[in-house]
C-alpha cells in the first residue's frame, strides 16, 4: 500500500474498488482494544447468573442466605427483588395483530420456561467471588412438563399435549400468510397444484431447518455505569441505538438519560441483534446498587442462552408442467420461537417469505408460517435470517424438479429464471428486483468450476461403481437485503423504520470525522466507509476517522444487520458528504472571488471553471473554522448529516457450484471444489467482499454439514459446548474459488449491493444438492441437515436393505444413559490423574 505518500488533493486517488487492508484489524486481532470485558471502572462490581437447569418449572423457593454470606458478596437479587425495575424484553415485531406473545420478564420470579433462564443474580467484588457464591444459591423447583418437539408443540392445545406457557392456552403464536392471488401479484397456487396433479409434475417435500447457534467469537458482555448524568451501558451488541430505545421503552428511564456504547464487538451474525435478559438485569442491578457493574457470560452460558437461529419445518409443494416450467409454489412452515418471542424472532420467517420464488418467474405463490412457542432457548436472527431457509427450500426443490424431469439442474433454472432483459422485474411475492444478470454469473461460474468435466467424471464414477461417488450441487440465489424501506417495514407491522444516518465533520486541519449509525462488529466498516469518504471529499484515506457504536457520538442510527450497512448506511454517508461539498462551494467562491456557479469540485479541489485557480478542501475547512472571511449569511461550518430511507430492498445474486465426494462405505462427505460468482454491485473493497463471502460460505456449509443444536428429552441442550456443537475451522474448509461481477444496483448512488449474508444464504443448498446428487442414483432424494456421515450411511444402508430414504431417525439425540457417553461430560469427566 503506497497510497500513504500520495497527495490526495493533487492525485485523483480512487479509493473505491481498491483492496485496502482493514484499518481496524490490528487492534481487533491483537485484542489490544476496547472489548466490553476489558472495561474496568472504579468500584465496579461483578455479576454471576444463577440459571435454571430445568426447561420448564415452577420456582417454589429461593434461599440466598448462604450466598449472601459468602466472601466479597455485595448482594444476591432475585426476580422478586428486582420486580418491575428490570423492565421487560420487548418483541418489536408482532407479525400479526393477534400474535400470542408471552410476557418476558428478564428474571422471572415464578416460573422458568427454558433451561438456562436466570432466576437469581449474585453481585460480588470479583467475578470469581460472584461465580463461587452463585453455586450457593439454593433454588427449589417443581418441574413441569416441557414442550420441546416443534411439531408436537404446534399440534398441542389446552386439552392435549404440553404447553410452553400453560396460561396462554396455546403454543401457536402467530399465523402469517401471503397469497399472490389475494395480493394481485399472481395466480392461485392451489389451483396450479391441482392442475399439475392432473397433467404436470408436483414435487412435495418436507425439509428441516435445524436449530443453529450463532456462536460469535466474543461472548456477550455488559457493563453499566449509573454514576453519571446519564446511565451508560457498554454492551457487546450489534444494536446500540435500538437497545437504548428498548431500555427506555421497557424501564421508563428517559431515553435522554441513557447512553449505550457498543465498543469493539467480536462478531454477532445476528446473535447480538437482541435486547437480552442479561442486559436488562445488569442495567437493573446497577441502578439498584448505584454502582458500576459488569456481567460477562461464559461460553457455556452463551451457547445455552444467547438466541439460536433457524429451527423450522418446511412443507413445500411445487407445481410444474412436464417440461419443468414452474406453475406454482406453496410453502407451509412451522417455526420454533423457543420460550419467548424475541426482538424480531417472529419476523424471521417473514423475511424469508418474499424469497421462496427466488430468481424465478413463478406465476402463483402461497406462503404461510405458523410460529410456535416451546420450552427451548428463544430464536431470532442468524446470518441471513429467513432468506437462507427460503433459498435452501427452493434451490433443493429446483434440483428435485430437474431430477423428476430428467434434465440437468440448470435446464429447469434457465427455463424459469428472470432473464437479463426483463429487469426491473416485479415478482410473484410483490418485490421489484432492480437489476440482475443470472445468465452471465452462471456462465462464468460453470466455466471456472469446470462443470462439464466434473459431470463427465461423475458419470465415469457412477458407471464404475466407485466406492467414492461425486455429486455436483447448484444454487442460483438472490436475496433481499439492505433493510429496509421504512414504509414496507411499517406495512409488515415492524416496530421501527429502516433508514440510516451519517454525519461528516470537517475538522480545521483538514481531517474528517465521520459518524455512522451502522454499528460495526467485525465487518470492516471503518475501512470501507473511509474509502467512500476519501473519494467523495478528495481527502486521504488515512485522514478519515469513522466513529460508530456510541449513542452520544453517532447519535442516530438503526445499527447493523440484514446486509444494510453499505447499501443504506453508505448511501447516507454519500449524501452527508455531498452536503459538505455544497456547503463549501459558496465559501470557495467567496475566497476565489468567483461566482458559485463557476466552482467545480473534483478530487478534493474547488476550482474556478476555465482557470487554474482553486482551493483544497482542507483550505476551505480551515477558512470555515476561522470564519474570518466568510460570505454573508453563511454559517461557519461545513459539518453535514443525512438520514437516508431506502426506496427499495437490494438484490445481490450469484451462482454457486459445489462438488462433494461421498464415501458410500462410511457415509463420509468431503468437499472437493466450491466455486461462486456473486453479483454484489459496485465493490468498495474487493478484499473485504471476498472475506465476507469466505466467512459466509463457511457458515452456510457448516449448516449443511456440521452444526446442529440438539436438546435431549428433558430440554437440556446436549450440544452445549464446542465438543458437540461442531464449528468448522480452516482445517475443515477448502480453498474457495470466489469471484464477483458488478451489475450496479440502481437503488443507491454508488450502485452497491449487500454481501454480508450472501455466502451463507447461497451455500447451504449447493452443498446438500451436491451430497444428494452423489447418491441419487442409489435411490436417495434427501439427507436431512446436517448431512452427518451416519445419516448418509443410513440412507444408503436403508435403500440397500430395501428400506425407505427417511433419514429423520438419525436426527434424534443419541443419548445412551447406560454408558453416559454423551456430550460435554464425557470428554471432560475425568482429570489428568
Amino acid at each position: 500500500m503506497t497510497a500513504t505518500q500520495e497527495r490526495p488533493d493533487t492525485a485523483a486517488a480512487k479509493e473505491i474498488g481498491r483492496d485496502r487492508r482493514r484499518k481496524e484489524d490490528q487492534r481487533l486481532i491483537t485484542g489490544r482494544s476496547r472489548w466490553t470485558d476489558n472495561i474496568t471502572l472504579p468500584g465496579m462490581l461483578h455479576l454471576a447468573m444463577v440459571r435454571s437447569p430445568f426447561a420448564h418449572a415452577t420456582i417454589t423457593g429461593i434461599d440466598v442466605t448462604e450466598a449472601q454470606a459468602a466472601p466479597n458478596v455485595v448482594a444476591v437479587l432475585t426476580g422478586k427483588d428486582l420486580g418491575e425495575s428490570q423492565g421487560a424484553c420487548i418483541n418489536a415485531w408482532a407479525i400479526t395483530t393477534d400474535q400470542v406473545t408471552p410476557a418476558h420478564v428478564p428474571m422471572p420470579s415464578d416460573r422458568v420456561a427454558f433451561a438456562g433462564e436466570t432466576v437469581a443474580v449474585v453481585v460480588a467484588r470479583s467475578a470469581a467471588a460472584a461465580r463461587d457464591a452463585a453455586e450457593l444459591v439454593d433454588v427449589e423447583y417443581d418441574e413441569l412438563p416441557a414442550a420441546l418437539d416443534l411439531k408436537e408443540a404446534a399440534a398441542a392445545d389446552a386439552e392435549h399435549g404440553v404447553l410452553a406457557h400453560p396460561d396462554l392456552g396455546t403454543n401457536r403464536s402467530a399465523l402469517w400468510t401471503f397469497d399472490s392471488a389475494e395480493a394481485g401479484t399472481g395466480g392461485d397456487a392451489d389451483q396450479a397444484i391441482a392442475r399439475a396433479r392432473a397433467e404436470g409434475i408436483v414435487i412435495e417435500r418436507e425439509y428441516r431447518q435445524q436449530r443453529l447457534i450463532p456462536a460469535f467469537m466474543e461472548p456477550r458482555s455488559t457493563v453499566v455505569d449509573p454514576t453519571g448524568e446519564q446511565i451508560t451501558m457498554w454492551s457487546a451488541t450489534q444494536i446500540p441505538h435500538i437497545l437504548r430505545f428498548a431500555l427506555a421503552a421497557s424501564t421508563g428511564v428517559p431515553e435522554s438519560k441513557i447512553r449505550v456504547i457498543a465498543p469493539d464487538v467480536g462478531g454477532g451474525f445476528g446473535g447480538k441483534l437482541q435486547q437480552t435478559p442479561e442486559e436488562m438485569i445488569t442495567f437493573a442491578v446497577a441502578r439498584r446498587l448505584g454502582k458500576p457493574v459488569k456481567y460477562t457470560e461464559t461460553r457455556s452460558e452463551s451457547l445455552m442462552t444467547a438466541h439460536h437461529g433457524r429451527d423450522q419445518w418446511q412443507r413445500l409443494t411445487l407445481a410444474a408442467e412436464k417440461d419443468g416450467t414452474v406453475t406454482g409454489l406453496k410453502v407451509e412452515l412451522i417455526a420454533d420461537l423457543g420460550a419467548y418471542v424475541s426482538l424480531i424472532g417472529g419476523g424471521v420467517p417473514v423475511l424469508g417469505a418474499f424469497m421462496y420464488n427466488a430468481i424465478y418467474k413463478f406465476p402463483a405463490y402461497h406462503f404461510s408460517c405458523q410460529t410456535v412457542l416451546t420450552n427451548k432457548t428463544w430464536t431470532d436472527a442468524y446470518r441471513g435470517a429467513g432468506r437462507p431457509e427460503a433459498t435452501y427450500a427452493i434451490e433443493r426443490l429446483m434440483d428435485e424438479l430437474a431430477a423428476e424431469v430428467g434434465v440437468d439442474p440448470f435446464v429447469v433454472r434457465e427455463k424459469n429464471w428472470i432473464t437479463k432483459e426483463e429487469f426491473p422485474f416485479t415478482t410473484v411475492a410483490g418485490l421489484e428486483y432492480d437489476t440482475g444478470d443470472y445468465e452471465s454469473a452462471t456462465r462464468e461460474a460453470k466455466d471456472r468450476f469446470g462443470y462439464d468435466e466434473l459431470r463427465a467424471e461423475q458419470r465415469r464414477r457412477r458407471e464404475a461403481g466407485d466406492r467414492v461417488q461425486l455429486g455436483i450441487g447448484v444454487s442460483t440465489f438472490t436475496e433481499m437485503c439492505g433493510l429496509a424501506p421504512s414504509r414496507v417495514l411499517g406495512s409488515l407491522n415492524y416496530g421501527a423504520g429502516g433508514w440510516e444516518h451519517a454525519s461528516v465533520r470537517m475538522l480545521a486541519t483538514g481531517t474528517v470525522e465521520v459518524t455512522t449509525g451502522a454499528s460495526a462488529h467485525g465487518q470492516g466498516h471503518e475501512t470501507a466507509f473511509s474509502q467512500i469518504v476519501a473519494d467523495r471529499l478528495g481527502v486521504a484515506f488515512e485522514d478519515v476517522e469513522i466513529l460508530h457504536g456510541d449513542t452520544s457520538i453517532a447519535s442516530k442510527g438503526l445499527d447493523t444487520y440484514g446486509s444494510r450497512s453499505l447499501v443504506v448506511g453508505g448511501e447516507a454517508l454519500v449524501r452527508a458528504a455531498d452536503k459538505v461539498i455544497e456547503k463549501a462551494k459558496p465559501i470557495a467562491a467567496h475566497l476565489l472571488e468567483a461566482s458559485v456557479d463557476d466552482i467545480e469540485f473534483s478530487a478534493g479541489r474547488f476550482g474556478v471553471r476555465g482557470t487554474d485557480q482553486g482551493l483544497a478542501m482542507a483550505e476551505i475547512a480551515m477558512a470555515a473554522f476561522a470564519a474570518h472571511n466568510l460570505p454573508d449569511g453563511i454559517e461557519p461550518s461545513l459539518d453535514s448529516d443525512a438520514t437516508y430511507d431506502p426506496v427499495n430492498f437490494n438484490y445481490p445474486h450469484g451462482t454457486h457450484l459445489c462438488a462433494m465426494e461421498v464415501d458410500t462405505e462410511t457415509g463420509g462427505v468431503l468437499m472437493r471444489k466450491y466455486t461462486c460468482v456473486d453479483d454484489v454491485g459496485t465493490v468498495i473493497n474487493p478484499m473485504i467482499v471476498e472475506g465476507q463471502v469466505h466467512g459466509g460460505l463457511a457458515q452456510g456449509i457448516a449448516q449443511a454439514l456440521w452444526e446442529e443444536a440438539v436438546y435431549d428429552d428433558s430440554g437440556t441442550l446436549v450440544s452445549g459446548s464446542f465438543v458437540d456443537y461442531l464449528l468448522p475451522t480452516s482445517a475443515d474448509t477448502i480453498s474457495f474459488d470466489v469471484s464477483h461481477r458488478s451489475t450496479a444496483s440502481t437503488t443507491n448512488t454508488l450502485g452497491t449491493k449487500g454481501v454480508g449474508e450472501a455466502g451463507t444464504i447461497a451455500s447451504t443448498p449447493a452443498v446438500v444438492n451436491a451430497v444428494v446428487d452423489a447418491i441419487r442414483h442409489l435411490g436417495i432424494d434427501d439427507i436431512q441437515m446436517p448431512c452427518t456421515p451416519e445419516r448418509v450411511w443410513r440412507a444408503i444402508h436403508d435403500v440397500a436393505g430395501g428400506g425407505g430414504t427417511d433419514t429423520e431417525g438419525a436426527a434424534a439425540p443419541h443419548f445412551d444413559a447406560s454408558t453416559g457417553m454423551q456430550g460435554t461430560v464425557d470428554r471432560t469427566d475425568g482429570a489428568d490423574r
Partner: protein, 284 residues
Amino acid sequence: MIPTPFEYVAPTTLDEALAALAEHGDEAKVIAGGQSLLPVLRMRLNAPEVVVDLGGIPALRGIRDDGDAIVIGAMTTHHDVHHDPLVHEHAALLAKAEEHLADAQVRHRGTFGGALAHADPAGDLGAPVLALGAEFVVAGPSGSRTVAGSDFFVGLFETAIAEGELLVEVRVPKHTGWGAHYEKFVRVAHQWPIVAVAVAVRTEGGTIAEARVGLTNMGSTPLRAHSVEEALAGRPVTEDAVREAAALAAEGTNPPSDLNGQADYRRHLAGVLTRRAVLAAAGA
C-alpha cells in the same frame, strides 16, 4: 469460566510430587498439560482442593532409547513425541496418531502421559499404545511398578494408577521396520474420533507376518483387536483377504451411542476403518 478456588502445588522433583499427593490424598488432582483438566475445572465439573502441577519436573520429559524399547517420559508433549526421530524409527504408529491429535495448540501443551492417564476412550493414544504392547511405569510412595498395557485401562476415565501414584513413563517395545497407520474418522478436524483404528504390521514379501490392531472409542476403554490380529497373520496384503479379517474388528466391543453415531454405525465403521488402516499400514 472460573474454577473453584484451589491450592496450587508445583513440585520440581518426582519425590516432591509424590509427597504432595500423599499429603493431600483424594483432595488433589494432578495437572500435566491441562488440556483435559482445565476445561473440567473451568466448567466446575470437578472441584479439587489442591492441584499438583507436574510441569516443573524436568525428569518426566524426554524420549530415550532403552535397548529393545523406547521410553517416553510422561510429561513429553504430543508435539515432541510427534517429531521425535526415535519414535519415527521404532514406533511410527505413535507419530501417526499424534499427527492428527486435536489441534496444534493442544499438541504443544498436552502431554503423552497426561492423555493416557486421562484414559478417555476416545483419546487418540490408547489404541496405538495398546497395539504396540507398551508398559506403564507408575511411581508411588513405596517405589515404582510396571503395569502391562492390557492391565492399564480399567474403565471409562479409569486406569490402574492408584491414589498417591503417578504415571512416570511409558515403555514402548521397538517395532522397527513395521508399517503403521492410524485411521481416524471425524466430522471436523479438531474433534475426538468417532472411531479410530491403530495398526502396525510387519510384512514379509506380500504377506502379513504380524499385525497389531488397537481400537479407539469402541467401548469404555481403548481396545486391542486380538481376533483381527490373529486372522491377519499369514494373509496376503490384498483388499479381499484383509476385508475378511477386518470384519472381526467390532467383535466383542460395546461402542457408545451419541450425537456422532449410534453403536451399530460405530461397529460398521470399525470394520471399514480396520481394513483401510491395515492396507495403508502394509503399504497397499
